[in-house]
Amino acid sequence: MIRRPMDAGLEQFRVPRGQVFIVPNRCKDCQFCMEFCPQDVLERSDDLNAKGYHYAVVAAGKEDSCVNCQFCNLVCPEFAIFSEEVTEVGSASH
């Protein structure tokens, strides 16, 4: 296979974006998602859930960093986190 340099039209390869969803009361603070998210999107909450655990939240400043890779969704042992693809309306630049 011949690899050609992508010298034109890069704007058509948009990185997918995801919105993170959490079911706070299921989280047991194992930190699998936080430690291994490839984009370092997640951190522990300041407050506690009903079972007394800090739960996963999107870190400040990481609101636009999720690439919807589904890693957290698959690795979470508690079925407490997932992401959904965001379809952007209007301009892709931000």
Binding site: R17, Q19, V20, F21, I22, V23, P24, N25, R26, K28, D29, C30, Q31, F32, E35, F36, K51, Y53, A56, V57, V58, A60, E63, D64, F71, N73, L74, V75, C76, P77, E78, F79, A80, I81, F82, V86
Partner: protein
């Protein structure tokens, strides 16, 4: 964009008995990750969900059957494979997957395991190897690495453990892989392939048990054991299976991969004379 949004359910709840969540597994246990990969593989298999059946033995891993909203069977200790064999032979259209622990499958159930592989029964076996009997208090079993500390080997385990991929390859399994509960994408894909494969498929999953094994062996929390897998794992699909035994030593790699994918006629009970003829003389 917003930060996290709060949901009260998860997309996978469709395949779970979500009224039983949160499950009983300890924080940092890898079993939920394995169950998550399995439910995803079921959906990706293309086989209608009502045709899947999950069969478990006894142990923490054995609890998987009770959390799935599939036809599932929580059987007796060590006997998941015989129950699964009965289900499959009587209902060949079903897709039967055994999900059970290293102790259940390779200690008390070890004979069923090797003979099911030898006979090439059309089953998928997912063996969660956490190197100990988690449920009963962290005792050593046939998968405990040499030197590991457990509640029954306080001075270190002096026995040689099973190298499960090598054992199953020798016994005759047609599909064999090993992943960890950190390698979720590869694990899910491997489970999907194993489910589709006719004959006896075996997926070994290394998984943290911080309570039964991690703490006693200075592996820390489940999260730290996941880092241990990240640090030590190499992927080699073509590895010589005699060399993929597991050890506690940081200097030895943990070899992962989709090791075996070969074809051999699956088990079919010779209930009619013509079927025996077919075996002896080949299909007409």
């Amino acid at each position: 964009m917003a930060r996290e949004m709060v949901a009260d359910r998860h997309p996978t709840d469709l395949l779970l008995r979500s009224d039983r969540l949160p499950h009983i597994w300890c924080p940092g246990c890898g079993l939920g990750s394995v169950m998550s990969c399995y439910t995803d593989a079921v959906q990706a298999s293309g086989i209608p969900v009502p045709l899947h059946v999950a069969v478990s033995g006894i142990g923490c891993t054995g609890r998987v059957a009770g959390y799935l909203s599939l036809d599932s069977f929580h059987t007796t200790h060590g006997r998941a494979i015989p129950y699964a064999l009965g289900l499959k032979v009587a209902n060949p259209e079903l897709q039967v997957t055994v999900i059970s622990g290293d102790g259940d499958l390779s200690a008390i159930g070890g004979n069923h395991l090797i003979h099911a592989a030898r006979r090439n029964i059309d089953l998928t076996v997912i063996c969660v190897n956490n190197f100990n009997y988690g449920m009963t208090g962290g005792q050593a079993g046939p998968t405990t690495p040499r030197g590991a500390t457990t509640s029954t080997t306080p001075n270190g385990n002096y026995e040689e453990p099973f190298n499960l991929p090598h054992l199953l390859a020798t016994a005759g399994a047609v599909y064999i892989s090993r992943w960890t509960s950190l390698h979720v994408r590869q694990l899910r894909e491997s489970m999907r392939v194993a489910i589709k494969k006719p004959g006896f498929s075996f997926v070994e999953v290394l998984s943290p048990c911080p309570v039964g094994f991690g703490k006693a062996n200075d592996l820390g929390e489940g999260r730290d054991e996941m880092w241990f897998y990240r640090r030590r794992s190499i992927v080699d699909d073509n590895a010589n299976l005699a060399d993929v035994g597991l050890s506690m030593s940081e200097d030895e790699p943990i070899v992962l991969g989709n090791f075996v994918n070969r074809d051999r006629a699956p088990f079919r009970p010779a209930v009619e004379k013509w079927a025996i003829e077919e075996v002896l003389h080949g299909e007409a």
